[in-house]
Amino acid sequence: MQSSSMINYDYSVAKLFAFATIILGIVGMLIGVLIAFQMAYPELNNLAGEYGTFGRLRPLHTDSVIFGFLVSGIFSTWYYVGQRVLKVSMAESPFLMALGKIHFVLYLLVVAAVVVSLLLGITTSKEYAEFEWPIDIGIVVIWVMWGMSIFGLIGIRREKTLYISVWYYIATFLGVAMLYLFNNMEVPTYFASGGYGDWWHSVSMYAGTNDAMVQWWYGHNAVAFVFTVPIIAMIYYFLPKESGQPIFSYKLSLLSFWGLMFVYLWAGGHHLLYSTVPDWVQTMGSIFSIVLILPSWGSAINMLLTMKGEWQQLKENPLIKFMVLASTFYMFSTLEGPIQAIKSVNALAHFTDWIPGHVHDGTLGWVGFMIIAALLHMTPRMFKKELYSKKLMESQFWIQTTGIVLYFSSMWIAGITQGMMWRATDQYGNLAYSFIDTVNVLHPYYTIRGVGGLLYLAGFIMFAYNFYKTITAGRVIEEEPRSASPMAA
């Protein structure tokens, strides 16, 4: 067996995407903080004319954190992890090297197009699939290039058996490809009408209830294949690697993977409970959501058990802290989601702030922390520098954790209060509250959420600073560490 240290891995594309992850993360979260405060202080809508209103900025927030921060985090880790677990360097294939670089450039162009178009209000309104057809085409091209990179690297691999992380990266690629194509079936109206109106405008192939079904089949599984599957790919590599511990159980990995693949796609109906989609589809959505708890928890438990007996590491190594808390929040949100998918609970929770609460348990606690930990692990190895400051990481960890707790506790209270007030009746059986009453009570919670978000953003900026100082002023390291990342106090 060839020792991996003999291969000279080429991290140039991984580095580029790492920069993108950090910059787009800051942009996306900054907008998140702004829209959070807009809900508490509506005057903040007037900062930039029509371009600064909540409606224009909200999709910009979701899309820049998802397709900016998250997706470039996925690409960055792929270009790092892929080579190492397949035991082959990108440098061995000029084709794959060139492909990776074009992939990055195209990605930036599409990001720019997305930002401009959303600010101008060019959107199809579908959540997480707002883009008009010209951008869709760009996204498909980017995705195909990533697929070529995955299968190209697999094609020239030295390691015969695919590591767990690679299973999850492959699933991400296939899942998103299928979902995105079907949800974006649209007819460009300029061409179909013989030259009228804006050339970029299109109309959905599906109408009404059908459109909703396809959208939430997509939307739910975008959560699966963007917020979950690739992040599991990351934790299966970075946690054992950073801790030096073997994975607790292959069987658990196996069952969790295939279970997740099998169950996830059925659960989309939970976004449409009590809507006009057929009752049986809704019931299926509820059922499969509950069954989904276990394949989700399987991966998280596998990770926690991998750390069995390693309390010392948890205490000493901030990266391990990030990853253990990420697993915890993964368990938290994959129990919260299923419970919100039970019909009677959804009757209360749907449309309320409890849903954004659930969303950010997952995105801040699980996705955010895991990507941060992954980049921190990769940085000393990609740049051959010691991490700049452990202290900074420790404070970052606690600041961000406080931020998450403020975010979700305020949104839980806000959401449940709102849901109960909408339903409440007075002694005569009339509705007890006008709508605006239910808005006004939320003011303190919206403020707390804004503060929580601000803390999380502050922590993220500390992380960016640490990253920057590491590559510019970190101590050079001679040899790559086997496990725990080197860091200065």
Binding site: P42, E50, F54, R56, T124, Y196, W422, I436
Partner: protein, 221 residues
Amino acid sequence: MFHWLEKNPFFFAVGVFLVIAYAGLITILPDFMNSARPVVGTKPYTVLQLAGRHAYIKDSCNACHSQLIRPFKSETDRYGMYSLSGEYAYDRPFLWGSKRTGPDLMRVGNYRTTDWLENHMLDPASVVPGSIMPKYGHMFNNKANIETAYAEAVTVKKVFNVPYDEKDMPKLGSFEEAQKLALEEAKEIVDNMKNPTVKEAYAKGEIKEIVALIAYLNSLK
């Protein structure tokens, strides 16, 4: 078997794809035709209403407003009759939303009127103290995009057989005719409004975004 798959990426990928692909077919296809059938009396949007719908989408009103009344007494008391699948037959895209920061708008045309909407869109807090909805002054200056709305109507008529130009259904005709119809339709709304910019523009044959938006909101019943 699984270990074999892990050594054979092609079959592994095929396996994953099969496992994830069919769930969509089984849940979406069986009721596809049923869900597409319009309820009796449902009509496609006129070009003016469609332009308003585009303004609604452009400013992502659906980020705060749902258009889906669930069958609960608390909702039907507040918003009116629960939603039926066939009422959405001409909604491309659907605009159910997933968050009610503001109230549901599925039937807002039943209980809000042009003049109220004008006041509210210009400055929500002036009519509803404490409102956190943004002001939409820019809609009083931007022009409604009638041409793109016309293009969309022509497209859905051609491609999806949406019954424009049929008996008792909205008329399209040529673009010039459609423009004229939109102007006529806008008249009643402009008459019920007070904003001078909107009125002056209308006198010059121009329709502002807000007029189209109100036409759309009024049509939500």
